[in-house]
């Protein structure tokens, strides 16, 4: 455990060194602010295919083994739906940017249809909307913008995403999604945030009503926050960059809580044990999630430090 001590010291040092206006006293009623929040940025790369316009294009993914955020998946079991969206006003680059930053609106899509896969494949002709067959192939013609096919898991996490471009001259009618079809490179900044100073070995209350922006840089609607996580990471805070999408599994111990409103008593956290506050081991993180949002990255994540 000797290796962990310097990390705690480092967090404290960040506070003492003046990385943001650190509170002098630990809080038991902790008002979270934008200064406490991490920042997230992502670079998304998406493969695109020129496909025969009007064709009953076959989508398949038998070799897909990881989702967009690095989680392992079974291609036959874990891809529960495929969403197909036509975005007539947006280029592939604009869709990529919108997906990464979570800024796409429903009105950006002229058409959204869904397919429940037969194994690991969905032809365009199987896509429908609430039981209505919309003859998707008839829509899939040139000059209808960027078509986005998103493979979704049970909780609507994007397993993979690809761009389909209808071209009259193309003869291609099949595409196969692999782990290389879409890649997301994430950069997380935890060094610029002001850690939240809390007492050791004691639960506390957090209030996030004062947050105005999420870690992605977007305006934050408080009402979308519906899950809270507190956990300890063995690695340094830097390791959160790799683990930001998987804190449930990488933090140990970890506690979670379904939340509504804008505050929560962490005494209500659910984990293998009751939450009794943080200790001096490892790096402690508190994250707030919007589970209905497209990007599953925490809307808020901060480090907890004790004196």
């Amino acid at each position: 455990m000797a290796s962990r001590a310097p990390r705690s010291i480092r967090i404290a040092a960040l506070v003492l060194a003046g990385c943001g206006p650190a509170p002098a006293e630990p809080c038991t009623l902790c008002a979270l602010t934008d200064a406490n929040n991490y920042s997230w940025s992502g670079a998304l790369e998406v493969q695109q295919w020129q496909l025969q316009a009007g064709a009953d294009v076959q989508l398949s993914w038998p070799q897909l083994t990881h989702d967009l955020y690095g989680g392992a998946l079974d291609p036959a079991e874990d891809v529960e739906r495929v969403a197909l969206l036509a975005m007539p006003q947006l280029s592939p680059a604009e869709v990529t940017e919108g997906l990464a930053s979570d800024k796409l609106l429903a009105s950006d899509a002229a058409l959204i249809v869904f397919c429940e896969p037969d194994g690991t494949r969905c032809p365009l002709s199987d896509f429908e909307l609430f039981g209505s067959d919309l003859d998707v192939e008839a829509y899939f013609v040139e000059d209808t913008g960027t078509w986005v096919a998103a493979l979704l898991t049970a909780d609507d996490t994007i397993a993979s995403v690809g761009f389909l471009l209808p071209e009259a001259d193309s003869l291609l009618t099949e595409v196969e999604f692999t782990d290389d079809t879409s890649t997301l490179t994430v950069a997380v900044d935890l060094e610029s945030l002001t850690p939240v100073l809390v007492p050791a070995d004691q639960s506390f209350v957090v209030d996030w009503s004062g947050l105005t922006h999420d870690g992605l840089g977007n305006d934050l609607s408080i009402d979308t926050i519906d899950r809270l996580l507190v956990g300890r990471l063995d690695g340094s805070p830097d390791s959160l960059e790799a683990e930001v999408y998987d804190l449930d599994n990488t933090a140990d111990p970890v506690w979670t809580l379904d939340v509504s409103g804008s505050s929560a008593d962490l005494g209500a956290l659910v984990g293998e044990t009751a939450f009794g506050g943080i200790d001096g081991e490892g790096s402690w993180v508190l994250a707030l999630y919007c589970t209905a949002c497209l990007n599953p990255a925490p809307r808020f994540a901060t480090l907890l430090a004790s004196p």
Partner: protein, 501 residues
């Protein structure tokens, strides 16, 4: 004037009881949105507090936690209303309509934002005291509103032309891939009421009596059961009415009768052709269900070609069920007691006499048997999906356009207003509007004329509601995040119906 809560028999703290007698620090109470009872009336400082009149005042949250249920008792019969204010906006005191005279009352405070602190008072006056000359008020009480379902998508107001928009409320269905919600959106594009109902629901609308949200879950098979849901805005039980074949749309009549589109079929060509058609089914307040209109009684299908297989078919139904009339919206005109429905089979608006079930007229834009023929160089009615009778000779309609056809696979949807000219039999366009960014609407879609002359447009699958003025300028627009859609809805100037309090 000073008073104590005990003397008034009011709770010392108008917050959930877990805090009431605990030693929770005041700052925690404030964080939770709770405040001790005030030392004086702060909602309306000019209204004299009568501590002897109000025997009790116990505000509480309804199941939808943005609704504050204000219930009170008085020591004498009075008319009363609730004065209330969101403490985030302390300069905007609101009031409910007056209640009828009595010694007890209950009013649901509607239109409140989630997670806000609401301060309220009951204002009383003698029966018939229209001048409010002897008004008296209760002490103030405070209550935090709760949260709305986390399944709600975020809204983004993309246009807000203050002064040109007509302020009001949209009750509207929100449809996601796995769940649906009946919601109310305020004039600033924020959700103020929402509840998850069965999925999908296509229309959400306030009940005529103003006490409930009505919504519909369509049948997925033509012999299946659709459901009309009634969810109290405040407290009470959710009720349901199952209607075989109920699909797509419904409307409530002033007497509480519900009229829903229904499905029926008819066999043709020596029983080798099986065509799906539509009905109107009325559900009276006592639950009686009556088919008041059957399209097969008024139109003879052309059998020259095959219609598309219907997704509402039951299994491998033989002969194959063909999607023929595809009636997809219904509205009601109280002045004439007529229904308006839209049909895809002839790109028409059909006006139906409710009392007899007879056709009053048919308006089409494509030739064929019709009473009114559109007179325009532009296409004005194509796959219409809503129609509203503005007056006896003016129709507002929403058209999805030729979506999905090879001719125009990404057609913009549009709204058209047509004036019916008795002398020529022509329907002349008064208005034709499509969005500058060409919104495609392959599913639902609706336009409604609202108070003040503006028009609201619900571009359903695009997750957008627009309000345009007479100059066709967008004066208000709200968009949903990607992944959610609007269904059908309704615009209301006021959430309160004064005659039901």
């Amino acid at each position: 004037m000073t008073f104590t809560a005990a003397k008034l028999r009011l709770p010392p703290l108008s917050c959930p009881g877990t805090f009431r007698h605990s030693r929770v620090p005041v700052i925690l109470l404030l964080l939770a949105g709770c405040q001790p009872a005030s030392d004086g009336p702060v909602v309306d400082a000019d209204c004299p507090v009568d501590q002897d009149l109000f025997a009790s005042l116990a505000p509480r949250l309804a199941p939808v936690e943005t609704v504050v249920v204000a219930a009170w008792e008085t020591t004498e019969a009075v008319e009363a209303r609730v004065l209330y204010v969101d403490t985030n906006d302390p300069d905007s005191t609101l009031s409910t309509p007056w209640s009828t005279s009595g010694t007890a009352g209950l009013i649901n405070l509607l239109g409140l934002r989630p997670n806000r602190t609401i301060e309220l008072q009951i204002e009383a006056r003698g029966a018939g005291d229209a001048t409010d000359s002897e008004r008296r008020c209760s002490p103030s009480a405070t209550l935090p509103t709760g949260s709305l379902p986390s399944a709600l998508p975020e809204t983004v107001v993309t246009t807000f032309d203050e002064g040109r928009d007509v302020l009001g409320w949209h009750t509207v269905a929100v449809i996601r891939s796995d769940d649906s919600l009946a919601t109310i959106v305020d004039a600033e594009g924020q959700f103020v009421w929402a509840t998850e109902v069965a999925s999908p629901v296509f229309r959400a609308t306030l009940s005529v009596d103003g006490t409930a949200m009505l919504s519909n879950q369509p049948a997925d098979l033509w012999t299946g059961t659709g459901t009309l849901w009634r969810t109290p805005l405040g407290e009470g039980d959710v009720t349901r009415i199952d209607v075989v074949g109920s699909h797509t749309d419904f409307v409530e009549l002033p007497d509480g009768t519900l009229a829903t589109l229904g499905w029926t079929n008819r066999l043709y060509a020596d029983d080798t052709r099986n065509l799906l058609g539509d009905t109107i089914i009325e559900v009276s307040p006592d639950g009686t269900q009556t088919i008041v209109w059957d399209i097969f009684d008024h139109f003879v299908p052309s059998l020259s070609g095959q219609y598309a297989p219907s997704p509402a078919a039951v299994g491998d139904e033989q002969p194959q069920l063909e999607e023929w009339s595809h009636v997809n919206s219904i509205s009601y005109d109280a002045a004439s007691d007529d229904y308006l429905v839209t049909g895809s089979f002839n790109h028409s608006v059909m006006r139906i006499d409710r009392g007899t079930g007879d056709m009053v007229w048919t308006l089409t834009d494509g030739g064929g048997a019709t009473d009114w023929q559109v007179n325009s160089e532009e296409r004005e009615l194509e796959l219409p999906h809503s129609a509203q009778l503005i007056d006896d000779h003016t129709v507002l309609a929403f058209s999805r356009g030729p979506v999905g056809s090879e001719a125009d696979p990404a057609a913009c949807a549009w709204v058209t207003e047509l004036a019916l000219d008795d002398s020529t039999g022509a329907a002349n366009p008064l208005l034709h509007y499509s969005s500058n960014d060409c919104v495609t609407v392959p599913f639902l879609g609706e336009a409604r004329r609202i108070d003040g002359g503006n028009t609201t447009i619900t571009w359903s699958p695009a997750g957008r509601i627009s309000q345009i003025d007479a100059d066709l300028s967008v004066v208000f627009q709200v968009d949903l995040d990607l992944g959610a859609a609007f269904g059908f809805g309704e615009w209301s100037a006021d959430l309160y119906r004064s005659d039901d309090l």
